[in-house]
Every structure is written in structure tokens, then in C-alpha cells.
Amino acid sequence: MRITFNMMASRALNNMTSTAERLMEAQDRVSSGKRIRKPSDDVTGTGRALSLRSTISEIEQYLRNSDMVKSQLSVTNSAMDSVVTSLERVRDVALQAANSTVTVEARAAMTSELDQIMSSLAAAGNTQYGDKYIFGGSITNQPPIVSSGVTMPPYSYAGNDTQISVQVAPWTNTTCNVVGSAIFNMNGAAVPTSPDVFSTIQSLKEEIQAGDLQAVSARIADIDANLNNVITIRSEVGARTSRLENMNESLLDSKTSLSTLLSETEDTDLTQAVLELRTRENVYQAAVSVAGRILNITLADYIK
């Protein structure tokens, strides 16, 4: 084939350009740390990367949600601890009062203690988490346990019974509240056969004042029913909390393995990339040096 100088020059130029282009790509990969700099670099890899990023972002949000739920459940738990303690004290008082050797002064002291316990129970029912009342169902902007203005029942429930559900894993929700009417058995919501906690205590007070030992004895059953109810609810909250812990663990594991997968998809394998960079540098150098060598010679150099 007949070769002209222009052919050699343009071939040399093409080769230098294309090796320089490949060199620049390799440089980019090493210095940016990213294997995929635009979708056309790896179309399926991009699809995978987008899907992984979304999933990881979702999981991070669920972890945040779950932290908030755990924190609210912990406040709930403390409030319920104090309710349990108070009700146990009420039971002790009742037992004591059922004993016929209690004096009139002692009975007066008992009724006043029961009054105090009732207000502290009401206060527990109106526990707040930040600004919101957590025992009122979805009515979180006003106290759920309100004074009814009459003697019996002494307190009424101003909330509703909505369970507030929060998503803590891709297909799992958890309830983050406990409804006040269930804890205090308002309107027989939890134990239909017994009156609510406050009415029970109010009745107990009146029975102690009247010195009706038999009625006081009978009232203990109501106190027990309410106490057991609260204990059951508290342990259910505990179970919810520990399920959340487990879910968190497995979400964290998922997140770690997905992040690793994302990095494998998107990021440069530095060892390989540096090796490739060196190879391409050498190729470019060879192309340039060959161009320099052959483009200098023509017949004109040898004609005197």
C-alpha cells in the first residue's frame, strides 16, 4: 500500500488522541474515587446504585423513627412505673383499713393519703413528652385526665383511643403510645367488671371514712384488677421496646451490608485503577515517542 507522510502523521495523531483520552478517563477514576461518574459509564451499575441509595436512605429514616419511639416508650414506662407503685400503696392502705383495729385518726390520715395518691395518678396520666400529652390517644394538645367537677367519678377521660402507629422497618409498624383509657380503665375500657382507678380509690376513701370494713375488703378485688391491668400493659410496652431493639439490630446489619454493596458498585477499586493508570500512561508515552521518532524522516533529508 502506498503510504504518504500525511497518512503517517494523521495516524500518529489519532493514536495519541485516543490514548490520551483513555489516560484521562483513568486519571478521573483514580482522583474522583468514583467508578461511575455518569450513567453511561455503567448503566446497570447506576440502576443498582440508585436503588441501594434509596433503600439505605429509607433504613436510616426508620432508625431515626425507632429512636424516637423508644424514647417515647421509655417515658411511658416511667409513668407506668409510678402508677404501679401508687396502686400498690393503695392496696396496702386498703389492707390496713380492712383491719378493725384502725382508729378514727388513722382513718383520716389514710383518706388524705389516698387523696394525694389520686392527684399523683392524675398527674402521671397527664405526662408529657416534649409538648404533647402521650396518654390521650391522638388528642395530644390537652390533658387527657381532667377533673370532672363531681365527686363520682372524680376524673374523666378527655382523650380518644387512637393507636398512633409509626413505621420502624420497611414493612413493619409499631404503636408508639398507650391509651390513657386503657391504663386507668376509664369507662371499663380494660376491665369491664371494675370501675376506673379513680372511682375505685374514691369509693375506697368513702368506705374507709364510713368505717365499712366489709366494703373495704370487697374493694380490694377492684384494686387488684386495676393493678394487674396496669402491670400487663407495662410489660407489653416492655416487649414492644425489646422488639424494637431487635429490629434495630437487624436494620443496622442491613444498612452495613447495603452500604458495602453500594461502595463496591460505585467506588473505584483503587488498586486496580492505579494499575490501569500506570499502564495507560505507558501506552501514551509510547505513542508520543513513536510519533516524535518517525515524523522526522523524509527523503528530503538525504538528498544533497
Partner: protein, 459 residues
């Protein structure tokens, strides 16, 4: 036969060698001229002189020297047509590739700043609101992530439209380029006709014309008929563009859909585009980028209508029923958070229960739109990822094709160069040849002169 016959023969040799040297000089001077085809001086022996020269009755012929009968331009018609074919393919794919590279760079995917990440943050902000439906900060966060999502979508839309505008401009520019080229080709055709009839060979004019035809072939897919002489016909899609000294005109007009297209000036019909840069531009603009815009619209409309549909069933921070969250009926070009909500984030509805500000069912429902199959049986996220993948694979395809055709074009040009290009080594060799011939002819001249001198002066 005259005594000075030999001198004339030597003279013809001198002239021919000198002429050939001039052609060599022209070749070397134009070694780097684009489109120049190597020219060769063709020596032909002159008509012999027939007569009775020697003793006896035999008739012999005596040669009368040499003349340069033709300065032959190297013909490469077949390779020219091969180059033209590759050129239009190359032009088409390169135009598409440039447009798609631009589109790709607008996406910022995969990354933290693209629409995909903005979507994730948007859904997450509703989850956040669901965990604290009374919180004003959570509402502000929802509005701000929605605003940032809307901004990203509108941005991409506007950028895609501006790529289309650029392509429009390219088409319009190519119309004037085409007109200039064909006018010049026609005028050269005219000049070559005159040249041929005057019996000189307009080699350099033809070189220039072939170069123009090659440039034209990059813009449009043309068919060239005729041997490349003055009877050349160039047509596009069956309609004549150039014939002899006639050239048609094309115009760039705005078609029904707002896009620029090429039409013939004489009858307003569309120019048939079967290849070339113009086709690359119109394909990229009308099927590829337009398709991306449609997909983006579908995705946006699905988000807007679904979020709004759920939002209006909810109740805001003041216990009032929720209104539109996004401006109703908006698409990718004008998506935005509803003006009232933007001004007052407390209008964001999280609760599904009137009077129950702690309820989060609406916030949960909106957050879970993330999982609903809303566009072609895919989630919003999957559908957008599909759009990104389509752009990526279209860009990859056009990049691969354009590179392959560049390579083939370069090979074809090399093949043509191999035949028609100027080889400095060859010209140097020829130069030496002609110089030696010239020297020898001059020598004959001298000897003849001495011989004549003997006759004239010595006898």
C-alpha cells in the same frame, strides 16, 4: 527532414521535464491542502514522422519527442463515495452523542444532589412528620424538602428544553451552511464546464468541489450521480439539490410542534433526512429528549396528584381540612409547593382525624407513596431510575457508534490518501528523475549543437 530536427526533439524533452517539475512543485506545495488530489504529468510520445530515411525503399517512422499530454488528477470516485457514506453516519451519531453527553451531565446521578436523592429526602421528611405530627419544625422540614424536590425537577425540565433549543439552533445553522455549500458547488460546476470546453483541465477546481461535496455529506445524506465531472447531480431523498450549475435552496422553518425543520424553498415540502448531522440533531431532539421530558412529566404528575389526593383527606396543625400540597395539575415544568402551604407550613396536614393533632395516619400514608406502584406498575423511585438508565444507555449507544464510525471514516480517508495523497518521498524521487532527464536532454542539445557546428563551421 530538417537539420534542426534533433534540436527540436531535445527541446521537447527539456520542456516536458520542466513542465513535469512544475507539477511536482505544485504537488509538494499542496501536500497539506485539504482535499488536494495528487497530480501527475503524463508523458506521451509525439506523433512520429513517417518517411524514407535510409537507403532503400523501406518506410520508417521516426519519433519526434515527448509532450506532456495531460496533467492527470488522481481519481478516487469509489473511495469518495465510501467516505461520504461513512461521513454522514459519523455526522449523525456524533450530533446525537454531543446532545446526549450534555443531557447526561445534567443528571448528577448517581449522587447526593440529583432527583433520586431529593425524592428520598422528601419521603423521609413525611416519615419524620409522622413520628411527631405536632411539631412545627417537622412541618417546615416537609415544606423545605418538597421545595427542593420541585426545584430539582423543574431544573432538569428546563435544562432538557434548552438542549432542544440548542438542537433547533443547530438545524437552523445547518440550513445556511447547506445553502452556501450548494451554491458554491453549482458555481464551480459552471466554471468547470467552461474550462472543459476551453480544453484545460480544472484539477484544482474539481478538488475544491469534491471537498465541498464531502462537507455537505456530513450534514445530509446525499446521493451523488455522474462521474464527478460537470454532469454531477446531487440529490437528497430523491429531490435534486445540485445539477450542473443549478442549486436548490433549503430553509429552516418552525414546524407545527415548535421544532425547527428543513424544507425545500421552492415547494415547502420537508427535506427527507436519512442521515447526516441534521438527522442526528432532529432525532436527538424529537424522539430522545422529547421522550425523556414525557417520562419526567409522567413521574411528576403521578407525585403531584397522589400526594394531593391523600393530603386533602387530612387535617392540618390548626385542625382544618388539608388543601392541595402541590399546586394542582402541575407538571415537570411548573411543579411547586402550593403557595398557601409555602407561606404557612402549619397548613401541612398530618392527621387523619379532625381534632386529633397527634394522629399521623395521613403523614404515614403520604410517606408510603414511596412504595406504591404509580407509573407503569413501578414505584416513583423505580420509574425515575428507569429514566436515568434509559438516558445512560442511549448515551452509551451513541458514544459507541460515533467512535466506531469515526474510526471507519478515518480508515476510509487513509485508504483514499494512500492513492491520492502526496507522498513527499515519491515527489522527491520524481524530482530527481525529471532533473536527470532534463540534464540528459540538455546534454543532447549541446552535442547536437557541436555536430551542427562541425557542419557549419568546419566544412
Amino acid at each position: 527532414m530538417s537539420s534542426f530536427f534533433g534540436i527540436n526533439v531535445a527541446l521537447s524533452a527539456l520542456k516536458a521535464s520542466q513542465y513535469a517539475m512544475d507539477v511536482t512543485g505544485h504537488n509538494i506545495a499542496n501536500a497539506n491542502t485539504e482535499g488536494y488530489r495528487r497530480q501527475q504529468a503524463i508523458f506521451t510520445a509525439n506523433s512520429p514522422y513517417t518517411n524514407n530515411f535510409g537507403s532503400g525503399s523501406t518506410t520508417t517512422q521516426l519519433g519526434t519527442g515527448v509532450t506532456v499530454s495531460e496533467i492527470r488528477r488522481t481519481q478516487t470516485d469509489f473511495l469518495d463515495s465510501q467516505v461520504r457514506i461513512e461521513n454522514q453516519l459519523c455526522g449523525m451519531w456524533t450530533a446525537k452523542n454531543e446532545a446526549l453527553q450534555q443531557v447526561e451531565s445534567l443528571l448528577s446521578e448517581p449522587g447526593d444532589n440529583g432527583i433520586s436523592a431529593a425524592l428520598d429526602r422528601f419521603w423521609n421528611s413525611w416519615q419524620n412528620l409522622a413520628t411527631s405530627p405536632e411539631s412545627a419544625a417537622a412541618r417546615t422540614d416537609v415544606v423545605s424538602s418538597a421545595t427542593s424536590l420541585s426545584d430539582s425537577i423543574r431544573n432538569l425540565y428546563e435544562n432538557l428544553r434548552s438542549v432542544q433549543t440548542d438542537l433547533d439552533r443547530n438545524v437552523a445553522d445547518s440550513a445556511s451552511e447547506i445553502n452556501a455549500l450548494v451554491q458554491e458547488i453549482a458555481s464551480i460546476n459552471n466554471q468547470t464546464v467552461q474550462g472543459r470546453s476551453g480544453d484545460y483541465q480544472p484539477n484544482d477546481l474539481i478538488d475544491r468541489r469534491d471537498l465541498l461535496v464531502e462537507q455537505l455529506s456530513r450534514l445530509l445524506r446525499i446521493e451523488v450521480h455522474g462521474s464527478g465531472g460537470s454532469n454531477m447531480i446531487i440529490s437528497v431523498g430523491g429531490k435534486v439539490l445540485v445539477q450542473g450549475n443549478y442549486s436548490a435552496t433549503v430553509d429552516a422553518v418552525i414546524g407545527d410542534n415548535g421544532a425547527t425543520k428543513l424544507v425545500w424553498d421552492d415547494d415547502g415540502t420537508d427535506v427527507a433526512l436519512n442521515g447526516g448531522e441534521v438527522k442526528g440533531c432532529t432525532d436527538a431532539r424529537d424522539s430522545l429528549v422529547e421522550g425523556y421530558i414525557e417520562s419526567l412529566d409522567d413521574i411528576t404528575q403521578a407525585i403531584v396528584s397522589r400526594v394531593n389526593a391523600i393530603h386533602v383527606t387530612g387535617f392540618d396543625a390548626n385542625g382544618n381540612p388539608g388543601g392541595d400540597f402541590f399546586t394542582a395539575g402541575s407538571d415537570a415544568g411548573n411543579i411547586s409547593v402550593d403557595a398557601a402551604v409555602l407561606a404557612s407550613p402549619s397548613l401541612v396536614a398530618a392527621s387523619g382525624v379532625a381534632g386529633g393533632p397527634g394522629d399521623n395516619s395521613v403523614a404515614n400514608a403520604i410517606a408510603n407513596i414511596r412504595k406504591e406502584l404509580l407509573v407503569d406498575s413501578q414505584t416513583i423511585g423505580e420509574s425515575y431510575a428507569g429514566l436515568v438508565a434509559k438516558i445512560g444507555s442511549d448515551a452509551r449507544e451513541s458514544s459507541v457508534h460515533s467512535e466506531a464510525h469515526e474510526y471507519t471514516l478515518s480508515n476510509r480517508k487513509t485508504q483514499r490518501d494512500s492513492i491520492a495523497g502526496v507522498s513527499i518521498d515519491e515527489e522527491m524521487t520524481n524530482m530527481i528523475r525529471y532533473q536527470q532527464a532534463y540534464n540528459a536532454a540538455a546534454r543532447i542539445f549541446t552535442v547536437m549543437d557541436e555536430m551542427l557546428d562541425t557542419i557549419i563551421n568546419s566544412i
